[in-house]
Structures are given as C-alpha cells and as structure tokens.
Symmetry: D2
C-alpha cells in the first residue's frame, strides 16, 4: 500500500508512520517528492491491515495496491474454474441457460415450465421455494413443498435444479433437493450463510449485491471458497443507480472485467437486471456477446398471474424465440449454446 503524507507533514510524523508500516510486517520505502512524501509499504499487505493507518498523524490518504481477494484471483489460478451443472459445464467456453419461474407455485406450473424451458434449450431449471420478499405481506414461497416439486420436475426432465437458500438452517434441506444453491443479492454479505454454503457439497450461484463493488463481490466469493467449496458461479443481476426506467442497471462490462480478475464463471441475470420482460431478450443476446458463461432467465406459463416477478418473466413463446436468437449470437462469438441431449 502507499501511505500519502500531508504536504506539511513533519519529519516526526513521517518517522512515526514508517515505524507503523514496519510494525505491520511490511517494508517501508520513503519517497520524498517535490510536493509531498509518500511511504510505499511493500509486502503481502491485505486491505485489512492498511485501514487504520489512515488515522495516523500527518497522513493524507492510504492507497491500497494489492487486491484484497486471493483464492478468487486469476493471478493465483489462471485457468478458468469449470463447474458441472447437470449436462452443462460452466466455465468451459460454452454457454448454458438456466430458466424457470421466479417462485414455484404448483406442480402443474413448475413441471410445465420445466418441459418448456428444456424444449427451448435450457439445461437447468430455476424456481424459488424460499422467497426473500421486500414486504412481509408478499408471498414467501412454498418452502419444502416447493423443493419437492422442483425435484419432481428434475426427475421428469433431467434438468439440473437451481434454487435459493436464505438462511443457514435451510442449507441442508435445500441442498438435498437441488444441484445449485443460489445466494440472493440481499444476502451477498450474509457471512454466516456464505460460510454455510462454503461447507456444502453443492455448487453455488452467488448473486452480486445491488450496491456491492466488484471487489466486495469477489470477497463474498472468497468467503465461500475459503471454506473449501471451489464451485462458485458469480451472477451479475444489476446494480442500483439513479436510473428508474429499469428496475436495476445491468452493467455488462462486469463480464470481461471479472474474466480478467477471476477464474470463476460469470452468469448474467437479464430478468432482474432490467426488471421488464420486454428488455430481457435483447439483453440476453448482449450478455452472451459480452462473453457470459451462462444466463439465468425468469420464465412463467402466464406472467400476468405470477405470484412474483411477473413483470419481468417471459412466457414460453417469448423464451423460445429468445433462445433461438441466443444460439446464433453464441455461435457468432465462437461459443456453443449447450442444450440437453435426448433422454
């Protein structure tokens, strides 16, 4: 890290801070410039160490140099992590699509959705059984009954199942019925939950918090990796900005940026990322063109009557049309859209 001293910092202050840097186990280089002195602190510094130095006497600013994440870093592990999700391997240079309703509502709804998304080319079925809802008065999900219906749909179609887990107590139960544990955006910094899924044998789909920096996002992944679970997929689902014509702002530059910084696969959620069904198809294509390893899309038999998120769900016909377009774009960027083999 670099400790930038105030212009009028005294020699005593500079000496004091030099010593503080050394106390942290780092080597200090004092560089005296025309305008001010800076102390370069060299060694394996973590953001965490540098924080308190800012309160030191005569310090103007502390500038971290090393990224604070480690296991998630591409510098440490250059080759992409590959994660098996049913018949699709995320991170292996192809594109896979997970699709299904926001919430599991009934056997008929989830099974018909599973058949429809499989037919259109998805390899995994999404569907919420435990639903985090902004209002306590909204539908909170079918809970274990919903999980059982997801498992049934998997049995009928062979699709992998992706579903959200909201608390440590539910991890084991959800893992029993599903292939991928989803951590929602609101829980991205629920550290106990991250630790719990870090100890699960299931792959994890970690959604970016709506105001999380990419660094915080990678540190959240680091919590999971650090517990021993290497199978983390990063999911960009839109950030909160001043824009109100979309529910969130979907920043696709996250895709090439993350590919440069981390070896973990990157999935895009154009449904939450826009919040309006009519924007989902074009943003699905854009996500693939930007290099995404996969998509997760909300699909519902009749969006107008959905128990949640109807406004951003595609119906079966819209999803099928979108998938056909996605396949062409995937080919144009030398990636294959993976579909289920017959079975």
């Amino acid at each position: 890290m670099i400790v930038v001293m105030e212009k009028d910092a005294t020699e005593e202050q500079i000496a004091h801070m030099t010593e503080r840097v050394q106390q942290l186990g780092l080597k200090a280089h004092v560089i005296r410039g025309a305008e001010r002195t800076v102390i370069a602190a060299i060694g394996r510094d973590r953001a965490t160490k540098s924080e308190s130095l800012e309160s030191g006497p005569g310090v103007a600013e502390v500038v971290p140099i090393s990224a604070p994440y480690k296991v998630a870093s591409r510098e440490l592990k250059p080759e992409p992590t590959q994660i098996q999700v049913g018949q699709f391997v995320a991170g292996a240079g192809k594109v896979g699509v997970m699709a299904g309703p926001c919430s599991v509502e009934s056997e008929e709804q989830i099974v018909s959705s599973a058949h429809a998304v499989k037919k259109a080319g998805a390899t995994a079925l999404r569907g919420g059984a435990f639903k985090p809802r902004t209002s306590p008065y909204s539908f909170q999900g079918m809970k274990e009954d919903g999980l059982k219906l997801l498992a049934l749909a998997r049995e009928e179609t062979g699709l992998a199942v992706v579903t959200e887990v909201m608390s440590t107590e539910e991890v084991e139960l959800v893992a029993k019925y599903s292939d991928v544990l989803q951590i929602g955006a609101r829980n991205m910094q629920n550290y106990r939950l991250l630790e719990a899924v870090g100890n699960s044998p299931r792959a994890v789909l970690l959604k970016r918090g709506a105001s999380a920096t990419v660094e915080e996002f990678l540190l959240a992944a680091e919590y999971i990796l650090n517990e021993g679970n290497p199978n983390v997929m990063l999911c960009e689902r839109g950030i909160r900005t001043f824009e109100s014509h979309t529910r969130f702002t979907l920043p696709l530059a996250t895709v090439p940026y993350l590919h440069r910084k981390t070896h973990l696969p990157v999935i895009i959620d154009p449904s939450h990322g826009t919040g309006h069904a009519y924007l989902v198809p074009d943003m699905s294509l854009a996500a693939i063109a930007a290099g995404a390893d996969g998509l997760i899309i909300e699909v519902h038999p009749t969006p107008e009557t959905a128990a949640s998120d109807g406004y951003q769900s595609l119906d079966f016909a819209q999803f099928e049309a979108t998938m056909a377009r996605c396949e062409r774009v995937a080919t144009a960027v030398d990636k294959q859209l993976v579909k289920m083999t017959q079975g």
Copy 2:
C-alpha cells in the same frame, strides 16, 4: 394503484385489465383521457398485488399509490414511538448518544472507552463482538468473550449496551448480554434475522442498507414490527453513491422525511456515514440540527491501532469536544442532550 394503458391499447385490452383489477378485490375506475386511458384501482392495494399487472396486454405502466408499509406508518399511528435505552428514551423529543469502539478488543479497551464516553455525555456504549467484515481475512470479533466484556463495562458505568447480531443462531446469546440488538446494513434484508429479532424482548437498532430505498428500509422495519417487537430504531448510516471522497454519502434529509412517514425514532451514524474521523464532528452537529433523535458514534482510545474502522473513529478528546458542541446545537433546536445521571 393506477394502471396506465398504452396509447394504442384496444377496448378489449382495457376490458381485460379492468377485470384483472377486480379479480384482485379492487374497484376499477376507467378514465379516458385525451391521450390515453388509465384505470384507477381503488381499495386496500399492496404493492405486492399490483406487480404482475404490468405484464398485462396493452399496459404501459403501473403506478402504486398507497405506501406498502403499514404498521410502521405515521398515518396509522401519529404519535412517536418511545423506546427506553438505559437512561435515554429515544423518540421523546430529546437527543441521546451511543458511542464506543467498532470492535470490542480487550477489557481495558472497552472499559476505558465506556468511562470516557460516559464522561463526555453518552448514555449507551456501542461495541461489536460479532463483526461482519467484507474480507474473510479481517478480524471477526471476540464473539461471546466480547459480549461478556460489554456486560462488564455496563456494570461499571451503567451505560446501556448496543451490539450487533449477525445471525438467527446468535440472537438469544446477544440478547442475554445487551440492551439493544443492532442489525447491520448488510443484513437489512436478511429476513430470517429480522423475524428473529422481531421475537426478541430487546429493542432493535436497524441500520439502513447502503442501497436501500427508504421504502425498503421501512418494509424491513415492518418485518420486525410484524413479529410483535414494537421497539425499532431506524439508523441512517449513509448510502452508496458515486462520491468517493467519503466512504458513503450521508443523506440527512432522511431525518425529516422519516419523521413525516413513520413514528419510529431516527438515529444517525456519522462515522459510517462519512468514513473519515475528521468529518464526524460537523456531521454530528448537522444530524442533530436536522432533527435526529440520537447519534451513534465510533470512539476508540487510539484509533490508529484499532482492529477495525480506525479511520473513522474519534479519540476520547475529539469525542468530548464534539459532545460539547452537540449539546449547544441540541439546545438551539429546543432539544436537550440527555446525559447519565450520577451513579
């Protein structure tokens, strides 16, 4: 809610949406304007009901009218909720200050801090025993040992104890040693945790999430109130914006806005709200002038060596000077700064 139809919506579409509104148990008024038709849906609508209508045929937009929170609303309960926190009653027209270190680090650190903040005029001691940290490699708190030290400091000073709870499993334990359960910004939408503290006999200090709208903030409070715990203090601690000269942007207009919309007391955290110790004193005064019911401030014996948040912690002398200034501003806005009586 108001269902705004597209300009070229057909009569059939208008009839369909009118019926949909009625199916939700609402009364529909169709209003035909010069440019377009709108359907006013009258009745006890909750945001939750209106969501899916947006996917209806010919619908341009759905505009909610009623606030989605209910128990937290000032329309429902006009008189301020008063919450006892040790010798201070939040919401009773006076100002109280909670202060102390970010993390409990040792007996000496927490007890000396307790004496110092009490002497300067605080009525409650803050200090983290379970610490949510962005990085898994950062200090995670002293856990139960930290709670015991907080209880010890309370015994010695009479200050109330405010400390964070991070997961449902810890609620009972933390409640055993503390007076106020703090829900951190990162857990504002951890609904299981909100439900758990909603069932605790302790008061709750609910921090606003860094990208939560005020409406989402009140709905998070509603989760707690809805479980039967009426003692929720709302804490504004800064939001995430494009500004980088402060760690977060502290929007003090939240204070008069919340006072208009809800009966719950409003506390300001100028430490997290700015992220730099030198900005804390002036923003403490500003918060009181804006009408805050209380402040929560980070104070550390030696910020430069703090295990966490040193950069935004005041030392004892700075805190004492700040409190003297706060007292004058509180008086100027006809509010008394509450201090501990001798004991």
Copy 3:
C-alpha cells in the same frame, strides 16, 4: 397526472385542488378510495404544469402520466428516423461504426487513423478539435487547425467526419468542416447550444449526460428537434454510478428501451462507457447484440502517447480485430455491418 391527497385531507382541500386542476385546463376526476382520495387530471398535461400542484394544501404527491417529450416520441412517429452519415444511414436496420482518436493531434496522426479505421470497416471518422477537458491545464484541442485536418482526412478517405462543438459561437465553424456535430455529455443540458445545433443543417450526435435520466435525455433531443433539425442520433456513453472499476457504467438496456420510446437512432460509445481499452471489444459486440444502430469507438495509432483518453483507445490492430468480431455479431442479429464501398 394523478394528484394523490393526504389520507387526512379535508373536503375543502380536495375542492381546492380540483379547482386548481381545472385552472390548468385539465378535466378533474375525483376518485375516493378506501384509504385516500386521488384526483385524476385528464388532458394534454405536460410535466411542467403539474410541478407546482405539489405545494397545494393536503397534497401528498403528484404522479405524472404522460411523457413530457413529444416530437421525439415513438407514439407520435412510429417509423424510425433515418439519418445519412456519409455512406451509412443510421436507423435503417444496419450497423455503422464511427472511429478515430479522441483528439486530432497532427496531420499524420489523423490521416493514418482515417485510413486505418476505413480499412477495418468504419464509415465515419471521429476526432476532437475543440476538447472539453475536466482540468484547465489539460490539452484543449487544435481548434480550427484540427477541423482542417479532419476535412483533409475526409478528402483522402471519403469517411464522414464527426466532431464535437462546445459553444454556440463555434457551431457555424464546426459545421463548415464536419458532417455530424457532436454534443458532449457535459453539454447535454446546455440549452443555448442545443438550440444552436437545432438551427444547423448538420446531423447531431447527442451524448447522454452522465447523470441524465432517459427522460431528460429525450427532452434534450426535443430542444434540437423543436428548432427544426430532425437529424438527431442519441448516444449512450455511460452513466455515473458507484462503480469504480470502470470509469462509467454502460447500461445497454438503454438501447431496447429507447427503441421502444423514440424513433431516433441509438449509438453506443463503449470507449467512454467503460474507460478501459481492454473492455471495449466485448462491449462493442454486446452493444450490437443489444440492437444498437451504430458505435463510436476511440482508436489511436499509439494509445500510450495519446494527448487524451489513451487509456480507453484501441490501437489499429485491436480495432481491426474488434471490427471482424462485430461483423459476425451483426450478422447473427440480422443486421449488416456497413462498410465503405471502394473509392
């Protein structure tokens, strides 16, 4: 617009506001709901009229219904506006690329750039002669000399010339040498300048302000259209958010959103939209996949020594590789990438 009354609004207040609505030339429908009364104001209301009603007695909120822009609206003119820019027609279902250095620096630099971008498939040359710079100490452009060099490069290559105009005094001069007048993001609400280019015979490339809502963006276009110049291209170049790993956040959902709301062509600037050269190629592909009518990309012979924006400029080889990939994606979305015919 809808005037939402406070829950406890009196009959007198409701009558007063009903009268106010009528004074604005609108028809008032009073709707009495279970919780509150709303007044629907029907007629050709413009946002502008409704503003002051919010101060009325007993008013909780005023919700506008009609979009405030008119001439730019797709409801008014459903077919896309087509704008000739050299050999490319923006808005005609194909994709065109404008490329070149941030600033014109020398004859050799701009002419070599023109040849290179033409060879790679661009149809227009970008280059700044008048440069708005954040710091008064930065390079401010070659001014008229730069314009002459752009005209020279056009003569040699046949490319159209796109260049920025910063003030009303310069409009005529810049128009003399260029094909498209660019309005920079910082001037998006410089209304005198918008009026001036609205009176020019040249097409306009209007960049979205970094914190402009899409509605404000369309109203800025409306200023130009309203003066009689119908040839306005809307350029999304990134918005300011909390993200710092990119210079701006590029929200590609703007593309399908604008296509739904307006008939004007939409151009994407992935260079400013990301602020880092290594993110530009993937975001160029994504923009085309999202449906953009064109791209504007910064290209420099030696980005490392550029007088401005070197960090986000592609070199010739990078640009050529990007264009080859763009062509494939354009084809995959049934759009042709337009190139210069021989000459």
Copy 4:
C-alpha cells in the same frame, strides 16, 4: 503518481514504463515488492499527464497522488477567501442567506419577495431571469425584463442580486444588473461559460453538477480562478443518487470536506438539495451546523402558483420561521447570522 505493474510484468515492460515516466519530466523510483513491482513517479505530476500511461505494456493501474487542482487548493492558500456580497462577506466566519423565487415573474412578485426575505434576515435576493429548463415547453424566464425587475428590487431594498447566466453571450448583460453571477448545475462543465465569468468583475456562485465529483467541482472553479476572477463561491445543491423520495440527495459532508481542501466559501442550497418544501427548514439548520458559509433558499409569495419550482419553495411565513431557527443554530456554532442593517 504510482504506476502499478501487473504481477507478471516483464523486466522489459518495467524498463519501458520507467522510461515513459522520465519522458514526462518525472523522477521514477522502482519498488520491487513481494507480489508486484510499482513505479513511483515523483515531481509535479498533474492527473492529465498520467492518464495515458495506463495503456502502457504490463501496467495494471495508475494511481494519482497529487490533487489536480492548484489555485483552488487550501494547500496553496491556507486562509479563507472572503467575498463581498452586498452587506455580507462570505468566508469571514459568519452566515449569510440569499433567498427569493426560482423565477422572476412580475414586479409585484419580485419586489414583495425582496421585502419579505429582507425582513426575515436575508442579505441577497435570488431570482432567475434566464431559466434553464429540462423541457423546451417550460417557462424560460423573463430575460432582460426580469433582470431589470431584479435591479429595481435591489434599489428598493439594498439586497444584493444573485441570478443565473446561461451562456457566454449573456454574461455582460447579466453582470450589468446583478452582483453575483450564478452558474447552474447543468453548466458546471460548460467551459466556455466558466472562462467567460472568469473574465467578469462579478463574484460567481458555482453550483456543483448533479453527478460531479468534488474534484471535478474544484476543477470547474479552477477554470474561473485561472482566468483571473478570485471570487468564486462553491454551492452544493444535491447529487443524483438512487434515492427518489427527494429530488436530489444533499450530502452535507461536502461542507467540512471542502473547507479542508479549498479556501473558497461553501454555500448550501437546501431547496434543490431536497426538492420538497417541507424538508427545507430542517436541512437549512443542518447546513449551518455542518459549517456552511451561507444558504440559498427558494421563497415565493404563493408557491402553489409559481411558474417554476413551486414544490420546493417556502412561502414568506415558512421562510421567516426558518430564519429564526437558523439564527439560533448559527449562534450555537459560534457564527453570527448576518442581517441587513437598517436603511
């Protein structure tokens, strides 16, 4: 600046970048750390020089150290700049208030407003004659007739006049009738206009752009100072964030931050900063408590019928009550609220 190299940067790349740093006239210190090499570039670097280095081979990041502004910097000129605005001197440790309607609408309106705000304790009259409006269909101001009415109101009351100038052509005209030239938020980076007011003998009130960083704000001031006009007041009027319950988010930490970084006086605009009249009084008090040198407040005889900004204007009685409260807070922070002497 600090040039941070990639972890796997080659010796050749390090040597190349070292040379580039030297070519910029800076001294290069190469520091080899455990994880990566950084090159500290020492000398009078300006942000502008460092920009292009980011494109260099093997470069991970370029971190600027010096602030890019100079004349505005408190490091250069520690004592506060004092600016005479009628009977009030901004920057001299007291508080002054400028108040009046958003737009000048008629003689009666502006003269009655002038008398009312003077009586309540303001020392300057604000009022717009040239109005920048988001929509071309909104009221655009009375132009020169409005300026004449402002001058008339000044004659009758002795108040100084503050009014906006929107383009270079109008600077001379506006300067003829006013004491302070206001640059609106939308023109903060209209550099030609900044240069023009930099050559005017009048003081300037420079409003922060809604998405301008504080650094960009100070660089805009630098444009004016650099032309020779030292009398620049910085006005914080709210930034654009995701919050929608206020029109803008008013970040009062700007006040102590700017006081630390610059010698220029800081004025707060709680009217635009909140966008709702009922939030203005408390935020006025908060601004003074935060240390503001002055306030600018919208006041209108009948806000409900105002030609612009009625929703955020106080009426005379509200303003008078607010001023009485402001005076008490000013005293509590050892600052006097300056009022007009009799005359």
